[in-house]
């Protein structure tokens, strides 16, 4: 089912949670709403579900206005961050709940309910836990029960509010992969909320980056990662080094040291902010034409790439650079060594103004 949110505005008291938000989710897509807490992502999800009603705007399901329908009538599956399982029911009864509360005329027979619940428990790999109570399960198992419960009523949309938020890192990664596989199998239109950019980028077909009650950018994970529409998106999508610099004669200058040439015509002269991903920073032992002096602070060489942490004058906080193993062997870096940095690529925004220039 196609979901469309049109000009959704929602305020809580004096706080504006959403301002005129538009979002379209194509049928069968898995969309992530990504943003920090307070950005309005959960409110938007709850409005789509019908757990919250917008002050203004409409929710369309397959083109039909669903704004006035309650959560009961929308036929959505909703998975809560803290599972919201029924404590006094067994796993089996939790999953069967949605089937048992149907009006008698539309209720399945006891045998059919049993068959469907068993199929779902098989799907979430909890067949052996049917008779347990939720308190006897681990976090990951509970979330799978919650998922099975929401799928039992055959929803046309699956909505997940920080589904992995309350789980530890390993379970999280497992469950993430498992959810992706499930989605590929069922092609159920799904929206999930997260504040973890890795989760959004790995799992979703489309990522909507939110801040302050608006959607900053919507696109495929690669699109938002490679072409962030604003400094905010760039900073939020993880691991960037921020350089406050001045553009002078087509060269980015940090504290009188020339850092990189800016060839792109779009860049305005004057003070600017350059965002450089760790893998776009090169380290040199000697200064060529360009180079920002820096001192090696820490090297973590265990892993597919070496992570080098440096301190550079005029830059707030540490600078992170990723080196391939070969390059790392060539350089023979040591902690405390003086080196020079150069950016191979950067996103440059005029200081304190949202604008755009992609410099490669």
């Amino acid at each position: 089912m196609r979901i469309e949110a049109k000009d959704i505005t929602k305020t809580f008291g004096g706080f504006t949670a959403l301002r005129a938000v538009n979002l379209a989710v194509e049928s069968g897509e898995l969309v992530a709403l990504l943003g920090p807490s307070g950005s309005g992502k959960t409110t938007l999800l709850r409005i789509i579900a019908g757990l919250e009603f917008p002050d203004d705007g409409a929710i369309l399901f397959d083109g039909d206005d669903a704004s006035r329908r309650t959560v009961r009538e929308r036929n959505v599956g909703f998975v809560f961050q803290h599972f919201a399982l029924f404590r006094h029911m067994t796993v089996f009864e939790n999953v069967a709940f949605g089937l048992r509360v149907k009006p008698r005329t539309r209720r399945l027979s006891e045998a059919d309910i049993r068959a469907r619940v068993e199929r779902l428990l098989d799907l979430v790999q909890l067949t052996n836990f049917a008779a347990r109570y939720p308190t006897q399960l681990s976090g990951g198992q509970r979330q799978r029960v919650a998922l099975a419960r929401s799928l039992a009523v055959e929803p046309s949309v699956l909505l997940l509010d920080e589904p992995f938020g309350a789980l530890d890192a390993k379970v999280r990664r497992e469950l993430r992969r498992w959810l992706r596989a499930l989605h590929e199998e069922m092609h159920l239109t799904s929206v999930f909320v997260t504040h973890d950019q890795d989760e959004a980028l790995e799992l979703a077909d489309q990522v909507a980056v939110m801040s302050n009650g608006t959607i900053e950018q919507i696109g495929s994970p690669q699109e938002v990662y490679d072409h962030p529409a604003s400094a905010y998106v760039c900073e939020f999508l993880g691991n960037v080094n921020r350089f406050d610099c001045t553009i002078r004669g087509g060269v980015a200058v940090v504290c009188d040291d020339e850092f990189m040439t800016v060839r792109s015509p779009g860049v305005v002269e004057g003070s600017a902010v350059a965002y450089v991903r760790p893998h776009d920073i090169s380290i040199y032992i000697t200064k060529a034409q360009l180079g920002l002096p820096a001192i090696v602070r820490h090297i973590a060489a265990a892993g597919p790439v070496a992570v080098v942490e440096l301190a550079a004058e005029g830059v707030q906080g540490p600078v992170e650079a990723l080196l391939s193993r070969t390059r790392h062997r060539e350089l023979k870096l040591a902690v405390g060594q003086s080196v020079f940095l150069r950016a191979q690529a950067a996103r440059i925004y005029p200081a304190e103004r949202p604008a755009v220039a992609n410099v490669e």
């Binding site: 009961r72 803290h82 919201a84 029924f86 006094h88 949605g98 048992r100 919650a146 419960r149």
Partner: protein
């Protein structure tokens, strides 16, 4: 010799003073509860086996037990229903004057019970504000068993509200939302999700209100009318016996009440355990 104490009795713990705290608890309980109760039973043995049962099961005493336990039961049951409602309102809604209502709920705890009894009697007597309205309908409250139930409802309300309230507070609104998203109506959500979750607390509140009702004296004697065989509660009968210097007879009734109360509370406790063991 530490090794001599059985393993179940003393488990290693980060909290110190297991022996000390248990010792004090046992001593304290003995002093406050056990010794007086033993004294009670000892005193009643003065009658001999036959005499004891004769005093304890005299028709007037039996009628008093029936009234005391019956009225306490109905009052506790009424409180279980309406206390749940009050607790629900206090937890789920915000309204002006909520703090005042919150304080009002505790008032029956603090008010001298005689004051409550006199006030209720004045209200429900045939010439009182409420009694005058009910009299044309043929409903007599004051000086009947119904009046006793009303007094016990008044006394018992805070017990249910204050035990159910924190449990209701603990139920996440998300659980209700989950039920609604699965297609459950309000009534279904209440019956299948909320009620089972708060049921143990309701049962506890019921037990407390029931126990309080059995022992209540001050408020009841004013509204009851105290007719032997009709509206005379067991605690009053005990007082009457005492005033007639029939100490053994009074203790026989008291001991019998104690036994019945203990058995009832024990059964309620078992019910609680059974209910809790299922999912905790």
């Amino acid at each position: 010799m530490r090794a001599a104490s059985p393993a179940w009795f003393r488990r290693p713990s980060v909290l110190p003073g297991f022996g000390l705290t248990v010792g004090i608890s046992v001593f304290y309980l003995s002093l406050i509860v056990l010794v007086p109760l033993c004294g009670l039973f000892l005193k009643s043995t003065g009658l001999g086996w036959q005499g004891f049962w004769q005093a304890a099961l005299a028709p007037r005493a039996v009628a008093a037990y029936r009234l005391s336990f019956g009225a306490a039961f109905f009052a506790a049951a009424a409180n279980a229903v309406f206390g749940l409602l009050v607790a629900w309102v206090m937890v789920r809604y915000r309204f002006p004057g909520k703090r005042i209502v919150d304080a009002l709920i505790d008032l029956p705890f603090a008010l001298p019970t005689a004051v409550a009894g006199i006030t209720l009697t004045a209200l429900y007597a045939e010439n009182g504000w409420i009694g005058a309205l009910l009299a044309p309908l043929g409903i007599k409250v004051a000086f009947t068993p119904l009046g006793i139930v009303i007094a016990l409802v008044f006394i018992g309300l805070p017990f249910v509200v204050r035990t159910v309230q924190p449990v209701l507070q603990d139920i996440d609104a998300e659980v209700e939302e989950a039920a609604a998203s699965l297609g459950a109506g309000r009534l279904q959500t209440f019956r299948r999700v909320i009620l089972p979750a708060v049921f143990p607390a309701i049962l506890t509140g019921f037990a407390l209100a029931f126990a309080r009702g059995i022992g209540e004296y001050g408020s009841v004697i004013f509204i009851a009318g105290n007719l032997p065989m009709v509206s005379e509660i067991a605690p009053l009968l005990i007082v009457i016996k005492l005033e007639q210097y029939d100490y053994a007879g009074a203790t026989a009734i008291a001991a019998f009440m104690l036994l019945v109360s203990f058995v009832l509370l024990f059964v309620i406790n078992l019910l609680q355990r059974w209910n809790r063991a299922r999912y905790l």
